[in-house]
């Protein structure tokens, strides 16, 4: 009788063990991941483009929904000291991994050192941290895409015309990203049109000033076709307005950088880059997908957490967003 009871107990325990192991197998381990964002100050544009810190954070919130992740969010506020404090807090919170988006190289080196001491892996965003994998925009490649698009358009549509080219925006921005974009733009244009050297028109980061600067340039460039590469979408929209005011829409095309929400929209928003607006003088804008960073970066973080090898650097796959592909790249769902 006792033996029978023992057998039954063993059977029950074994059954429970099988059920438990099945449950464990069905539910993947959850990880605590911290994301320290560059700057969530309302109105602050990120890395010279039209995206905000809120756009980036939202992408992490959305992308983490179906992942075994419990997210903790920090705002570095564009401040190196704050970034260091956030990293210390992440260490004391014993997170499994920190995703760090901070532009200060010195602070990044210290953050890398402290996290290494704590045994917590780090994944860097756009600014490298010694020893940490990096996810970053490829600013030269993005610039090159825009330069090539302008050059190809000119070769196809204005083969016998006198051309001038301009790079419009915050060209004096000391950041490495803007310098790299200008380098790429120039390279891309010269690949298509080797004799063309773009002039730089400085808006100092103000869209209204961008319109004024371009208007002056247009007035000096009569009987020429003008290729305009803008460094952000707000400048592109201001440039378009200046071209229209000057009555030069048949002489000018624009390609921009960023492809933020101000230039493309949902099915009923009829924004500038829209399938129903294929004749726009804004040919397109190179996508940086800051609003999709969470979807790109969290899978890398998960691979790190599962002990898999990840490449030392993963670059954004930039593409030119135009009327032809905007709904493929950004499927519209916000239908207001």
């Amino acid at each position: 009788m006792t033996a029978l009871l023992m057998k039954r107990r063993h059977f029950l325990l074994a059954t429970l063990a099988v059920i438990s192991s099945k449950r464990l197998a069905a539910e993947p381990r959850r990880f605590r991941v911290a994301f320290a964002n560059l700057n969530e100050e309302p109105g602050t544009r990120i890395d010279g483009l039209g995206f905000t810190g809120a756009d980036i954070r939202r992408s992490f919130e959305l992308a983490s929904r179906s992942q075994p992740l419990d997210m903790i969010y920090y705002d570095n506020g564009g401040d190196a000291e704050k970034a260091l404090g956030n990293a210390r807090d992440a260490i004391s919170s014993k997170v499994d991994l920190l995703i760090e988006y901070n532009s200060d190289a010195k602070a990044n080196a210290e953050i890398g050192r402290q996290l290494k001491t704590a045994g917590i892996p780090v994944l860097a965003v756009n600014y490298s941290i010694p020893g940490a994998p990096l996810y970053a925009a490829d600013n030269v490649a993005a610039g090159r895409i825009a330069g090539q698009a302008l050059g190809k358009f000119a070769k196809e549509n204005w083969p016998d015309q006198t051309l001038v080219a301009a790079i419009l925006g915050d060209v004096s921005d000391p950041g490495a990203a803007v310098t790299a974009r200008i380098q790429g733009l120039t390279e891309g244009l010269r690949q298509e049109l080797p004799d063309l050297s773009p002039v730089q028109l400085d808006s100092a980061g103000h869209a209204v000033r961008a319109g004024g600067v371009l208007a002056k340039f247009l007035a000096a460039q009569t009987r020429r076709k003008i290729l305009v590469a803008t460094l952000d979408d707000a400048s592109a929209l201001a440039a378009k307005s200046a071209v229209e005011t000057a009555g030069r829409t048949s002489d000018c095309v624009i390609v921009s950088q960023g492809a933020d929400r101000s230039i493309h929209g949902g099915a009923s928003e009829k924004k500038e880059i829209d399938p129903a607006n294929r004749g726009s003088i804004i040919l397109g804008s190179v996508g940086y997908f800051f609003d999709r960073y969470g979807y790109e970066i969290l899978p890398i973080a998960l691979r790190m957490l599962r002990g898999e090898q990840v490449p030392p650097q993963t670059s954004t796959k930039h593409v030119l967003i135009s009327a032809k592909n905007v709904f493929v790249e950004y499927p519209p769902f916000d239908m207001n």
Binding site: S66, S268, P331, M335, N336
Partner: protein, 339 residues
């Protein structure tokens, strides 16, 4: 002026051909869309599952005869997707003194209802969603499109929806799990926009009222988001901006249970924004195009959810009829739960 008008019409026609005439080259539908489980000639999808036996078994759900509405009023001003519109016009000419008919002075009125078909509480048919020009059952729909209607996959083909309905109260599931994050614009508890409803959530909702899904069941999910619909027009923008809904895993699980339809108190049934930012309405494709399972949107679920909570019974006899509107892709419907 006349010339201008004619030229304008000609240009409009050209623009129309430019837009639709060259829409898509014929794609290989056998690689893009799954074959129907109901055979190569099927046009009616999961309504095949509503057999006489299924309807008879569902009739056992009628115990008290109480009827609970599950449709929202169809009225101008409710939230509409994208560029859709409604406009109701009442014709009451014979009410004007002297316009009566006959010595018995008969008068009459009627309505003109200008609207797209996918408005209010409505059903998505098999002709609604595809991948390129490939629709349900690997149908190369381009061959069956006319200017006015579809020559295949129209709603007129559907069988009856006389089956068992099941309400799943997702608000309660999330409350019980301590994870309800409501939207401040909701006057009653609701799941927030972007909340993914998982397979486990669906199963928890069924377990709450001890329901096991049967083949041919009609599944309705109460998310509370319909609260914003009821506040029209004040919350129309919020309602359309996002929504809670089932993710792809939950859709796959429901399809595996061989349900006939999935309905919710939201405008798209599936979670918006989608789980994958690069995909457009993937659950629509999975349910309608690949599995022939109908989708019902903007369902009024609060009344039946409350009834289920008070009676601890989540099943009912579904009364929903779909007009035999030839060659259409969807239509507004009236839905009632009979208990």
């Amino acid at each position: 002026m006349k010339h201008g008008a004619i030229i304008g019409i000609a240009f409009s026609a050209l623009a129309l051909f430019g837009t639709f005439g060259t829409a898509h080259a014929q794609a290989d539908c056998k690689t893009l869309v799954k074959p129907s489980p109901f055979g190569p000639d099927d046009q009616i999808g999961a309504t095949n599952r509503i057999t006489p036996a299924v309807t008879k078994a569902a009739a056992a759900e009628i115990q008290s005869g109480a009827v609970i509405s599950m449709a929202n009023n169809l009225v101008d001003g409710v939230p509409l997707f994208g560029t859709r519109f409604t406009k109701t016009v009442l014709t009451s000419a014979t009410l004007v003194p002297g316009a009566e008919l006959g010595k018995n002075r008969l008068t009459f009125m009627e309505d003109t209802y200008l609207s797209q078909s996918h408005v209010g509480t409505h059903i998505d048919g098999m002709g609604h969603i595809g991948i390129l020009d490939c629709y349900y059952n690997q149908t190369p729909i381009g061959k069956f499109v006319t200017q006015n209607y579809l020559k295949k996959l129209g709603l007129e083909n559907l069988k009856s929806f006389a089956t068992r309905g099941v309400i799943i109260d997702m608000v309660k599931v999330f409350q019980d799990a301590g994870k309800l994050k409501t939207n401040p614009a909701c006057q009653t508890p609701c799941l927030d926009g972007g909340t993914v409803i998982s397979e486990a959530d669906i199963q928890a909702g069924l377990k709450m009222y001890n329901v096991t899904l049967r083949e041919g069941d009609a599944v309705f999910i109460h998310t509370g988001w319909g609260d914003l619909f009821k506040q029209f027009p004040a919350q129309n923008a919020n309602y359309n901006k996002a929504e809670p809904g089932i993710g792809k895993a939950a859709a796959a699980w429901l399809a595996a249970q061989k349900v006939v339809l999935v309905g919710t108190d939201t405008w798209a049934v599936e979670v918006i924004p989608s789980e994958d930012a690069m995909e457009a309405f993937p659950v629509h494709v999975f349910l309608l195009t690949d599995n022939g399972i109908h989708i019902i949107e903007n369902v009024r679920t609060d009344l039946i959810a409350a009834e289920a909570a008070s009676s601890k019974r989540a099943t009912f006899f579904l009364s929903m009829t779909v007009p035999k509107a030839v060659g259409t892709t969807g239509t507004f419907v009236n839905i009632e739960a009979i208990r």
